[in-house]
C-alpha cells in the first residue's frame, strides 16, 4: 500500500537516477555511461550529475550529436562485454537512430541464436512539459511493439531507482522511460513517494508485476509512468464524488503482467486505461485486449483516455490534449455513469 509522501524530501527523480547509476557503477566496472551532455553538464535533466567527476572520462563521456553512432556504439560495446547505459536526450530523437534500435539492439540476441547478449540500457526522457510535438512524446508503444526489447516505464520514485537497477542488471536490452515531471519534481510534492532514504541500498524492482497504488471498488484505472501520480490525485477527488477508484501501475510494459492485470480488472465493474502515449495501436488497446482474452464475458466495461494527435505548443491547446487530473476525472465519471 502507498506510503504517504515524505514532507521535506527535497530530492527529485533526477537525483534518484544519478544515485542508482552511481551505486551500480561502483558495483560493476563494466558499466559505461555516454550520450549527449551527460558528462560535463550531467544531463539536461540532471540525471547523470556528478558521475563524470566521480568515474572519469573513460566511463562517463559526452558524445557528438550523433544518435546513430552512439547507439550503435552501445550495441557493439555491449556485445564486446561492456554494459553501456546510454542516454537518448529526448525520446523524440528516436527517429534519427531508429535502425540501431529496431534492427540491431532488439534483434542481435535472437539472430545470433542466443550466442550474444546485448545488455544495453537506453535511458530516455519522455512526456509533456511544454515544447510541443517534437519534444513531448512518450512513444512507449513504439518500443513495446518490437520483439526483443524490454520497456520499463516507472511511475513512482521507488521504481525510478529500482527498475533502473533491474534494467542495468538485465542481460537484455532495456528501454527505460523517464517521465520529465518525475525527473524534475521534488519528491515531497508527489502524491506517491516510495523512494528509499538517501543512503540505503537500492534493490531491483520486480519485472512484470503490476502494482496496486490505491484500492477501490467502482472503477479500476490502469496506467503507467507519471500518469500514475495524476491518477492518484484524480482518485482522491473522485472519492469525494462517491466514486471509489482502484489505481494500477503497470510499471513494466514489457514484460507485461497479463495475469496480474486480469486479476486487478476483476476488482471493479469499470476499467479506464490511462496513457500519455498515443492511443492508436498502443498500450490502451493492448491492456483491453489482454483483459478480454483473460476474462471473456467477465471483463469489466472499459474505455480509454490517451493522446491521439501531435502535442500542440500553446499551453491552452496542450491542456486539451494531454491527460490531466481533471480530464482523468471526467473520463472516469463518463465511464461510470454510462
Amino acid at each position: 500500500m502507498p506510503d504517504p509522501g515524505r514532507p521535506g524530501d527535497r530530492r527529485t527523480g533526477a537525483h534518484l537516477v544519478a544515485a542508482a547509476l552511481r551505486q551500480e557503477m561502483l558495483r560493476d566496472a563494466s558499466i559505461v555511461v555516454f550520450g549527449e551532455d551527460v558528462a560535463k553538464l550531467g544531463g539536461v535533466f540532471g540525471a547523470t550529475r556528478g558521475l563524470a567527476r566521480q568515474f572519469g572520462d573513460r566511463r562517463v563521456f559526452d558524445t557528438p550529436v550523433s544518435e546513430t553512432a552512439f547507439l550503435g556504439m552501445a550495441v557493439g560495446a555491449a556485445q564486446a562485454g561492456l554494459r553501456p547505459v546510454t542516454e537518448l536526450m529526448f525520446v523524440d530523437f528516436l527517429g534519427v537512430c531508429f535502425d540501431q534500435i529496431l534492427n540491431q539492439l532488439a534483434k542481435n540476441t535472437y539472430m545470433s541464436g542466443g550466442r550474444l547478449q546485448v545488455p544495453v540500457v537506453l535511458r530516455t526522457a519522455v512526456g509533456c512539459i511544454g515544447s510541443a510535438a517534437q519534444h513531448s512524446q512518450v512513444l512507449s508503444a513504439t518500443f513495446a511493439h518490437i520483439p526483443g526489447l524490454k520497456v520499463f516505464y516507472p511511475g513512482s520514485p521507488g521504481d525510478l531507482q529500482g527498475l533502473l537497477v533491474a534494467a542495468i542488471r538485465d542481460d537484455n536490452p532495456v528501454v527505460f522511460l523517464e517521465h520529465k515531471w518525475l525527473l524534475k519534481t521534488r519528491l515531497s510534492e508527489l502524491p506517491f513517494n516510495d523512494a528509499q532514504p538517501e543512503d540505503s541500498e537500492i534493490q531491483p524492482s520486480p519485472l512484470g508485476q503490476v502494482r496496486c497504488l490505491r484500492e477501490g471498488t467502482d472503477i479500476t484505472i490502469v496506467t503507467a509512468g507519471y500518469m500514475a501520480q495524476l491518477a492518484l490525485i484524480a482518485a482522491s477527488d473522485l472519492e469525494q464524488d462517491g466514486i471509489s477508484a482502484n489505481v494500477i501501475d503497470l510499471r513494466t510494459l514489457v514484460p507485461l503482467d497479463r495475469e496480474g492485470l486480469a486479476r486487478a480488472a476483476r476488482g471493479a465493474p469499470f476499467l479506464l486505461v490511462l496513457d500519455d502515449d498515443y492511443q492508436a495501436y498502443g498500450m490502451s488497446g493492448e491492456v483491453m485486449a489482454t483483459i478480454v482474452e483473460q476474462l471473456g464475458r467477465d471483463a469489466p466495461l472499459m474505455s480509454r483516455h490517451a493522446v491521439d494527435v501531435p502535442i500542440p505548443a500553446a499551453a491552452v491547446l496542450e491542456a486539451e490534449v494531454v491527460p490531466s487530473v481533471s480530464s482523468i476525472k471526467q473520463a472516469a465519471r463518463a465511464l461510470v455513469k454510462e
Binding site: A69, F70, M73, G76, L82, Y110, S112, R115
Partner: protein, 284 residues
C-alpha cells in the same frame, strides 16, 4: 612476399571462391530460399584481411560477408550450415546476412551502414584494455554514402578508437554506378576528420596486403582510426538471381579478363616460375 607465401594465398583464395560458388549452387538447388550475396571477385581483400587480423581483433561486416567471416576465423562448417539455413552458427535464426560468432569476434548485418557504429562499440571496449586489439568495419562503396559512416568516423576520431574502416569498392550499389551516386574520392572521405586514408587495387594481392598493412599499423599502434578503399569487381549480380542487366556485357567480359584476383595471382605466380602442377593442386 615469398613465392611460397603467394602460392599459399592462391590456394586460400581458391578455397574462398569455392565456398562462394557452393553457396551460389545452394540457391539454385533451393536449399537456400533467401537472398544471397556472394563475394566472388573480392577474394584478395578477404585473404589479405586474414593476413593482418590478430587474436583480439573484431570484424563487423555487411550483407556480403562470407569471406570476412572466414578471414576472422569463423568455423567454415558452422558458417556453411548457417548460410544453408540449417542448425549452424546461429541455429538458423540469423542466416547469411546476420552471422554472429562471439568467439571469433565477428558479426555482420543486413542493413547497409548499420554495422559501422557497432564496430565503433567493439573498438570502445578494446580501447579500455591495454592490448585490446582493433576492429575492422567492412563496408561497400554504397555504404560510404550513409550518414552513419560520417557520424562514426567523427566519433572514432574524437575518442581515439581503434577502427579500420575497410571499403570494398565494387563500383555498384545494387544497380547504381558509383559515378551516379558518389561524389569525390572515397579514400579521402576521412580527411576532414584527420583519418588517414589509403586506396589500392583490391584485386592485386601484394598491393592490398601492403596497403592494409599501413592502415592496420596506424590503428594498432597509434590507437586511432584509418580508412582503406580497395577497388574490386563484383563478378556476380547484387544477389543470386539478379538479372544484372544494368552492367554492360562488355564491361563484365573485360573485368573477367583483367580484374579477377585469382587470374591475376596465377599470372604473377607463373611469372615467378611456379610449376603448373603446383598451381593446379592449389586450385583443387
Amino acid at each position: 612476399m615469398t613465392d611460397e607465401e603467394l602460392l599459399k594465398i592462391y590456394e586460400q583464395m581458391w578455397r574462398l571462391r569455392r565456398f562462394e560458388e557452393e553457396a551460389g549452387r545452394a540457391v539454385v538447388s533451393g536449399e537456400i530460399h533467401g537472398e544471397m550475396h556472394l563475394g566472388i571477385g573480392h577474394e584478395a581483400v578477404g585473404a589479405m584481411l586474414s593476413l593482418h587480423l590478430q587474436e583480439r581483433d573484431a570484424v563487423v561486416s555487411t550483407h556480403r560477408s562470407h569471406l570476412h567471416a572466414l578471414a576472422a576465423g569463423v568455423d567454415p562448417v558452422e558458417l556453411a550450415a548457417e548460410i544453408l539455413e540449417r542448425d549452424g552458427l546461429n541455429h538458423g535464426k540469423g542466416g547469411h546476412m546476420h552471422l554472429f560468432d562471439p568467439e571469433a569476434r565477428f558479426m555482420c548485418t543486413g542493413i547497409v551502414g548499420a554495422g559501422v557504429p557497432i564496430a565503433c562499440g567493439y573498438a570502445l571496449s578494446q580501447s579500455m584494455h591495454a592490448q585490446g586489439g582493433l576492429t575492422v568495419s567492412v563496408m561497400g562503396d554504397g555504404t560510404m554514402n550513409q550518414g552513419a559512416v560520417f557520424e562514426t568516423m567523427n566519433l572514432t576520431a574524437v575518442r581515439g578508437l581503434p577502427v579500420v574502416f575497410l571499403c570494398e569498392d565494387n563500383q555498384y550499389s545494387i544497380s547504381v554506378h558509383r559515378s551516379d551516386s558518389t561524389a569525390g574520392e572515397l579514400h579521402r572521405r576521412g580527411e576532414a576528420f584527420g583519418i588517414p586514408g589509403f586506396a589500392c587495387d583490391g584485386t592485386d594481392v601484394e598491393q592490398t596486403a601492403e596497403t592494409l598493412g599501413k592502415a592496420f599499423d596506424i590503428t594498432r599502434n597509434q590507437r586511432r582510426p584509418s580508412l582503406v578503399v580497395t577497388s574490386v569487381y563484383r563478378f556476380r549480380g547484387h544477389y543470386e538471381g539478379d538479372l544484372d542487366l544494368y552492367r554492360p556485357a562488355r564491361e563484365k567480359e573485360e573485368a573477367a579478363r583483367t580484374l579477377d584476383p585469382l587470374l591475376k595471382l596465377r599470372e604473377r605466380l607463373l611469372a615467378i616460375q611456379t610449376p603448373e602442377a603446383q598451381l593446379e593442386r592449389a586450385e583443387n
